[in-house]
Every structure is written in structure tokens, then in C-alpha cells.
Amino acid sequence: MKLITAIIQEDKLDDVREALIQADITRITVSRVAGHGRQDDIDIYRGQQIAPSLIAKIEMKIACNDEFVNIAVDTILKTARHGEGTIGDGKIWITPIEECIRIRTGEKGGSAI
């Protein structure tokens, strides 16, 4: 089992979520984060342009069985990109999961995903 963590742009949340559901990956957990990378995002304050030091992003976590990893990653890659890819589109990383448990039933392992 793997944990896929994707940092994406705010406005892509709906698209990615729907694409994942289409690909039969229906269980996800999402949260608000802020990132520092190469992107800029300008606000105006009384005539001055100010760039925040951190930019709002969405973090998406998907716990999935090994055979689903590629599908999930591909789906995200396809839908989270702006056009041909824009700075700030984000990142995905994959970490190993040793055990997974469904709280409702107590089931463990792959079937609990």
C-alpha cells in the first residue's frame, strides 16, 4: 500500500477530484496548505504590489493499493496541469504505508483502503 501526496493549485481541486472519481479512486482526503516554490501571486495594497511569501495550495492524500498508484498519479498529472504546465502546478510524492485500518469495521490491510 502507498500513500500518494499531491500538492496542487487551488482552482484545480474540483477537476482533479472528479477525474479521480471517474478513475474509480473515490476515497481521498484534502487539506489547505501554503507553499513556497517558484511561483508568484501578486496582490495590490494602496498602489503597492505585494507578493505573499507563501501561496495557497491544496494537499491531496490518497491511500491506495499498489496497483492503483499509476492510475492515480497519471490522473493527477493530466488534470492538475494548467495548459502545458505552469510554474506552481505542484508536486506529487509517494510514501510506503505499512498498515491501514477502517475505523468503522476494524478491517485491516488492502481491503480497508
Partner: protein, 404 residues
């Protein structure tokens, strides 16, 4: 006759109260949209106060209350241009300085286009919006106001429109409906759930609207006496019974009464009583408020079925309750008010309603097409996703919990 300091005091404060409706409306609408559009939505209300506020002082008052020109399409009086000629005139019949009257009326001109904005919330460009309301105020509002409230207007003295049912709520309501159709739905509507970002603010805004409405309706008596008191009482009671009615419906249907339903009921009651305020007794106002909520409730259910996107239900509340109030008041008029026969009065009322619906509806469409083609009005789906606040204003409404 001299100025009456008491009447003047009440008209001054009424003007301030109607001004309070602008932040009230901004809060009401602003709370209902999604977070990324909150500033843009509030700016729709605020922009009106600047743009129409200036236009009104320059030429709006003249167009509304000047002598008939162009066959009575609107009015004109060079004395009213920049309000120069009325700097120190006193209105003999009302016993107040004319400037107060001009300012009080100006607030109505400001609030009307701001109302429309709710129908196309979350999807118009700010620049286009500014141009649209400027033109709408000039071409739609000022003539309508002239017809109904200036003694040269062709509807004057027939249709009862105490504080602006036809001129304000119906004209804004139909304009909203036309705009909702012309501009189409928001990106993602109705598939995506679009939750109000801040109902707390919406509820607070409704409270301010209620307070402001006292100035709106009771101020429309242009006096500080019996009719003022009657108008205030009617307003208070209609709002309360409208809210109660909506609450009871929701208890019946959902077993839960929502706060949004409650404040929608307040609005429905207030809108319905607006044309009637000075001319109906308390129990009449109570009936109007009560029924208005029932009708609006079902009108909005119908809208959900029909599927067009009147985002904040401008037509569903202002249009519908406005029409209902304008017609319905016929049946609960205070003895002695209105025409000799109820039927005759109903005909007058219908004329007024139709005039407003047709005139505002058609001209709004023309203006929408014009502004959209020349200056651009509809935001692209990409801009809609990024939100009005960022794309149109370079700002974010809240950062209270953000790290950015």
C-alpha cells in the same frame, strides 16, 4: 412656509438609513457567494454608491424630476444640473430643503442597480459591471422614476407605489432575470455545490437592511407624522410576518428552519410592503408579508426546477414579492386610499407592474448586449475558477486563518 425642523430631521436620518442599506446589502450578498468572490460581490454594492451617487448629483435628479422632455421619456431641468439651482430652495409642500429630497431620492437610485447584481453574482467583470450600472441608471432607472414619482410622469397618481415597488424592486428583479438568462449560469452550476461562505455576515446584513428599510419606507412619506408612523408600522409588521411565514414553511417541509430562509422571509416581507407601506393598515401589511414569503418560497423552488441561474434570487425575491406587493396591496388598502373601485385600482397597479417589467426588461437586455460586446461582461471559466477577488480586484477577502 418655513422649513419644518422635525420633518427635515426625519428626512436627513432617512437618507442616512437608506445609505446603511448599502453595506447591509453588501454583507447580505457577500456572505452568500463563495469565498473567492466575496470582495467582488460586495464591491457590486459599493460601486453603485460611487458611480450612481455621482451621476445622480450631475444629472439623475434632473432626469427624474425635471419637466417632461422627449414626450415624457424622462425629465430635464437645467436648474437641477449638478443640483446647482436647488442649493437653497425649500419645498413648500413638504417643508424641507430640496437638497434633502434630492439626496433621499438619490439613495433609491443607488440601491436599485446594486440589487440587480445578485442575479449575476460570481461571473461578471468589474469594469463591465461599472459601465452597465451607469447606463442602466441613466436609461432605465431615471425614466422609470420620472414616470411614477414626478407629477409629470404618465403613471403618476394612478398606480400606488409608496416607496418603490415598481420603480425599484420590480425593475431590478426583471433586470436580474434577463441578465441571468443572457449571461448564462456560473461555471459548474448547478452540478457543483456552491455554499455561502459566510452566512453569519448574511444574517447580520439582513438586520441592517431591515433597519435601513425604515428610512426607505417611512422616509417615503416625506413627512414626520401620521403617515410616517403608518409606513413604519407596516414595514415592521410585514417584515416580521414574512420571516415567520418562511420559517413555518421550512419547519413544515424540512423540520428545520434555516437562517437563510428566515432572512429571505424578511426580505420578501419588506419588498412586498414597499409599494404599500403608507396606504395599508397593520393587519394588511401582516397579510402581505405572510403571503409574500409563501409565493417567493415556491417561486424559488420553481427556479431550481427550471435551472436558470439567478444566483442570489433577485427575481425570486425582489421581482416576485415586488409584483405580488404591487398587485396585492389593492385588496388591503386603508379605507379611503386609492381609486373608487378595487378593480380600477387593480388595473392601475397592473399597468404600473407591466410598464416596469417591459421597460426594464427590454432595455436591460439591450444594455447587456451592448456592454458585453463592447467592453466585456462575462468572465471566462478560467477567471471564474480563480475568483472575482483575485482576477478583478487583486485582493483576497479574508486572510484571517491563512498562512499566505
Amino acid at each position: 412656509m418655513d422649513i419644518d425642523s422635525g420633518i427635515t430631521a426625519w428626512m436627513l436620518i432617512s437618507t442616512a438609513l437608506v445609505l446603511l442599506m448599502v453595506p447591509g446589502l453588501a454583507m447580505f450578498y457577500g456572505g452568500l457567494v463563495r469565498t473567492k468572490n466575496v470582495i467582488g460581490t460586495m464591491m457590486h454594492s459599493y460601486a453603485a454608491i460611487a458611480i450612481v451617487g455621482v451621476i445622480w448629483a450631475v444629472c439623475g435628479y434632473s432626469m427624474a424630476f425635471g419637466e417632461n422632455i422627449l414626450g415624457g421619456w424622462f425629465g430635464w431641468n437645467w436648474d437641477y444640473f449638478f443640483l446647482k439651482g436647488i442649493d437653497s430652495s425649500i419645498m413648500e409642500d413638504y417643508r424641507i430643503p430640496e437638497l434633502v429630497y434630492a439626496m433621499f431620492q438619490g439613495k433609491f437610485a443607488i440601491i436599485t442597480p446594486a440589487l440587480i447584481a445578485g442575479a449575476f453574482a460570481e461571473r461578471v467583470k468589474f469594469r463591465g459591471y461599472c459601465i452597465f450600472i451607469a447606463l442602466w441608471s441613466l436609461i432605465v432607472y431615471n425614466p422609470l422614476c420620472h414616470w411614477v414619482w414626478d407629477d409629470g410622469g404618465f403613471l403618476y397618481g394612478k398606480a400606488i407605489d409608496f416607496a418603490g415597488g415598481t420603480v425599484i424592486h420590480i425593475s431590478a428583479g426583471i433586470a436580474g432575470l434577463v441578465a441571468a438568462f443572457y449571461l448564462g449560469a456560473r461555471h459548474g452550476y448547478p452540478k457543483t455545490a456552491m455554499h455561502p461562505n459566510n452566512l453569519v455576515m448574511t444574517v447580520t446584513g439582513a438586520g441592517l437592511l431591515w433597519v435601513g428599510w425604515f428610512g426607505f419606507n417611512a422616509g417615503s412619506s416625506v413627512s414626520s407624522g401620521l403617515q410616517t408612523a403608518q409606513a413604519l408600522s407596516a414595514t415592521q409588521v410585514a417584515a416580521a410576518s414574512g420571516a415567520l411565514s418562511w420559517m413555518l414553511i421550512e419547519f413544515a417541509v424540512h423540520k428545520k428552519a434555516t437562517s437563510l430562509g428566515f432572512v429571505s422571509g424578511i426580505l420578501a416581507g419588506l419588498v412586498a410592503v414597499t409599494p404599500a407601506a403608507g396606504d395599508v393598515p397593520v393587519y394588511g401589511a401582516m397579510i402581505l408579508g405572510f403571503i409574500a414569503s409563501v409565493i417567493c418560497y415556491f417561486a424559488i423552488l420553481l427556479k431550481n426546477k427550471l435551472g436558470y441561474d439567478d444566483s442570489l434570487d433577485v427575481f425570486g425575491i425582489h421581482g416576485i414579492a415586488g409584483i405580488f406587493g404591487a398587485l396585492g396591496l389593492t385588496f388591503v388598502l386603508r379605507a379611503g386610499s386609492g381609486a373608487d373601485s378595487m378593480l380600477e385600482q387593480l388595473r392601475y397597479q397592473t399597468e404600473g407592474v407591466l410598464a416596469s417589467l417591459v421597460y426594464s426588461g427590454v432595455l436591460t437586455l439591450v444594455l447587456l448586449v451592448f456592454v458585453d460586446k463592447i467592453f466585456g461582461l462575462r468572465m471566462s471559466p478560467g477567471e471564474q475558477k480563480a475568483g472575482i477577488d483575485h482576477t478583478q480586484h487583486g485582493e483576497h477577502g479574508y486572510r484571517m486563518n491563512n498562512l499566505v
